[in-house]
């Protein structure tokens, strides 16, 4: 695992997919929500 937090977005779709370095994934319709999750979720590896 790269240690990076990744957010994918394909224009034309409205969803962002955020992937944490721990493997946790979150889909959301805006970047603020994605970063709230990726930068702040505690308990990496258990949060799904």
């Amino acid at each position: 695992m790269s240690g990076r937090l990744r957010v994918e977005w394909v224009p034309g779709t409205d969803e962002l997919t955020g992937v944490c370095h721990c493997g946790a994934v979150r889909r959301a319709g805006n970047p603020a929500e994605i970063w709230d999750f990726l930068l702040d979720h505690p308990a990496h590896g258990t949060a799904r």
Binding site: S2, P31, W35
Partner: protein, 342 residues
Amino acid sequence: MPFPRNQWYVAAYGKEIGSEGMLARTICGEPIVFYRTSAGEVAALNDRCVHRRYPLSEGNRDGDTIVCGYHGFTYAPDGRCVAVPGQTRIPRTARVPVYRVVERDSLVWVWIGDAEAADPQAIPRAPWLDSPDWVTVRGMEPLAARYELLVDNLLDLSHETYLHGGYIGTPEVAQTPITTEVDEKAGVVYVSRRMTDVECPPFYARSTGIDGRIDRWQDIEYHPPCLYLLHSRIAPTGVAPLADGDDPRACHAEIVYAITPETETSTHDFWMVSRDFAREDEEVSAFLAESNRTVVLQDVRALDLLEKVIAAEPEGYQELSINIDTGGLAARRLLKRMVEGA
């Protein structure tokens, strides 16, 4: 938001600081005078005389010292006052603060913060800028806007389509998928946009000489607070890098910005374009310098306007962010952490 302290900032291009004269520049609200000593080192002193606060940059150099232009207090590169007029005793407190400076990759970096915390290893690199394998054009424009607006601007290049149409913008920029990554440990934001089989904007058509459709990669690497790198790859459609990573048929441009706050509402907008193609061609250099300056001035005009709008509004106005802002929002969060010292 105030400035992140205990950080390195680009204060100047090395070439701006000659063996004669002085350069006065305010960095993060601190007035600084820069000059080059006979040993070739850059000295950086607080630009205020301890006597009556007259700017030292308005005085004169005498060898490696600066003589204040008001009453003649004379300062050494380490900030110590070494002579005062009419008396032999120099007050012990006669010393101006000095700043740590590192000259690297043709840039003069200054440390804003506690001197003991300064680590030159932490300075991000941009080796193209003084490599013989690359040719660089550069400039600096004063921006009458807070640095955060320039960070927002550079992290979302979809604005090229609207603000820079006919220069670097084409419709496909705003239409192509982006991937945004954050390396929290290293403190880097990456935004990558890989366009395939697209129109070549005039900026690259005229400089690379590539006819027809291209594959265009824009890979941003932002090292907050100051250094922004845009790795730009232009190749005829279908031409991929070789398996060993070598990429001889593509043209590469390294677009570098240094985003240095001057005051809370003004910014030094340093811009550089390094290229590995048409290196001998002076016309291409002139064209890229002129075009990039035009593009930067389009941004400056927009951001100066935006600063006025924001300054006139009450605190706490509500913005609306959408998916194109993913990189910009990540950058803001890293900057906020830096300001809070987290």
